[in-house]
C-alpha cells in the first residue's frame, strides 16, 4: 500500500508533470517539427503514464494544483513582456485594432458557417462561438448566451493546443513572417496556449500575443451577442 500512496502524492505528480514538460522541451529542441511540440509530447507521455499508474483525474488535478496556480501570475508577467516590447508597437496601433476586430468577427462567423454546413445543433454552435478567447472570458460569454460551459472549455482548450502545435508552421506557410503579425495571430486565434508558443518564438511575439488575448476577449464578448441577435 505504501508505494501507491507515494504515486498519488503531490511531489510525485509534480515530478512527472515537470518531467514530461522537460522531456517535451528536450525533444523539441532536438527535432523541430510541428508535432514535436512540447505541450503535445508532454500530454501524450503523461496520459498513458497516469493510466498505467492508475492515477485518476481528480487525484492528478489536486496534485498538479501548484502548477495550475502559476497560470495567473504568468499572465500578469506578460505585462512585463509587453512593457519591454512596447517600442515595436508604436505606429502599429491601427492595424492591430483592425486585425483583432476582423479576427473576432471572422472567428465567430466561421463557427456559424461550419455549424450550418454540418447541421450542428444551435446549442453546440453557441457553445463553440467564443472558442478563440481565453477560458475565463469564453465561459462568461457562454453563460450569458446559454451555451454549455464544459463544451466551451473543451473547445477553447483544444483550439489553443491546435494553434500551439500548427500555428508557427501554418503562419510561415502563408507568408506571415513579421514577429508582430505572428504574435498577434497566435494570441488572437489560440489565446494563452498560443501565447505560450509565441513566447517560444521570441519575447516580442509573446508580448504581442498576450495583448491579443485581452483585445480578442473583449471584442468577441461584443461580437457573439450581436451575431446571435442577427441570426434570431
Amino acid at each position: 500500500m505504501k508505494d501507491i500512496n507515494i504515486l498519488h502524492s503531490e511531489p510525485f505528480i509534480l515530478l512527472i508533470t515537470i518531467g514530461a514538460y522537460y522531456l517535451g522541451n528536450l525533444i523539441h529542441r532536438r527535432f523541430k517539427y510541428p508535432f514535436t511540440n512540447p505541450l503535445l509530447i508532454a500530454i501524450t507521455v503523461l496520459i498513458p503514464l497516469l493510466l498505467v499508474l492508475d492515477i485518476d483525474y481528480p487525484t492528478y488535478e489536486k496534485g498538479s494544483h501548484a502548477i495550475s496556480m502559476l497560470l495567473s501570475p504568468s499572465v500578469i508577467a506578460l505585462g512585463y513582456a509587453l512593457h519591454k516590447q512596447i517600442g515595436h508597437l508604436k505606429g502599429n496601433v491601427c492595424r492591430i485594432l483592425l486585425a483583432i476586430t476582423a479576427g473576432s468577427i471572422v472567428g465567430v462567423l466561421s463557427v456559424v458557417g461550419v455549424c450550418y454546413m454540418m447541421g450542428t445543433p444551435h446549442l453546440l454552435m453557441v457553445s463553440m462561438e467564443p472558442k478563440s478567447v481565453t477560458i475565463p472570458i469564453a465561459l462568461g460569454i457562454t453563460e450569458r448566451m446559454g451555451g454549455l460551459a464544459p463544451l466551451t472549455a473543451i473547445t477553447v482548450f483544444i483550439c489553443g493546443i491546435f494553434g500551439n502545435i500548427v500555428g508557427p508552421w501554418f503562419l510561415k506557410t502563408i507568408g506571415v513572417t513579421s514577429p508582430l503579425a505572428q504574435g498577434l495571430a497566435l494570441g488572437a486565434a489560440s489565446h494563452g496556449v498560443g501565447t505560450a508558443r509565441a513566447m517560444q518564438l521570441g519575447q516580442l511575439q509573446g508580448a504581442i500575443a498576450g495583448m491579443a488575448i485581452g483585445l480578442m476577449g473583449v471584442w468577441t464578448a461584443v461580437v457573439v451577442p450581436l451575431v446571435e441577435y442577427c441570426l434570431s
Binding site: 514538460y21 508577467a77 453546440l124 472558442k131 463544451l151 493546443i161 491546435f162 497566435l186 513566447m199
Partner: protein, 113 residues
Amino acid sequence: MKGIFIILAFLVVGEFLSYLTGGFVPGNIFGMVVMFLALQTKLVKEDSVATVCTLLTKNMTLMFLPAGIGLMAAYELIAENWISIVLNITVTTLIVMAVVGLIVERNKKGDKK
C-alpha cells in the same frame, strides 16, 4: 522575492478590478494591464520583476499541462461531438490566424514602400 510579491499584489488588484466590473474580464487580464502601466510609469522598477517575469512567461506552456490532462476526464463529451468539434477547431482557428496575421503582415509591407 520582491518580484513575486509585486506579481501577487497585482493579481489581487486585478481580481478586485474584475469584481468591480462584474467579473466579465478575468482578474489576471486586468493584472497584466496594471503591471504594464506600473512599469511604464516607473512605479515599479523593471529590475525588480525582470527575473520572475521572464521565468514565468518562458515556461507558460507548463501551466497549461494540467488542463491538457483534463481533456482525459472530458472524454465522453468530446466523443459525442467529435466531428463538429474537430472541424470547427481546425478550420476556424486557421481562418482567424490567417486573417489576423495577414492583415498585420500586409499593412506592414505597405508602409515600408
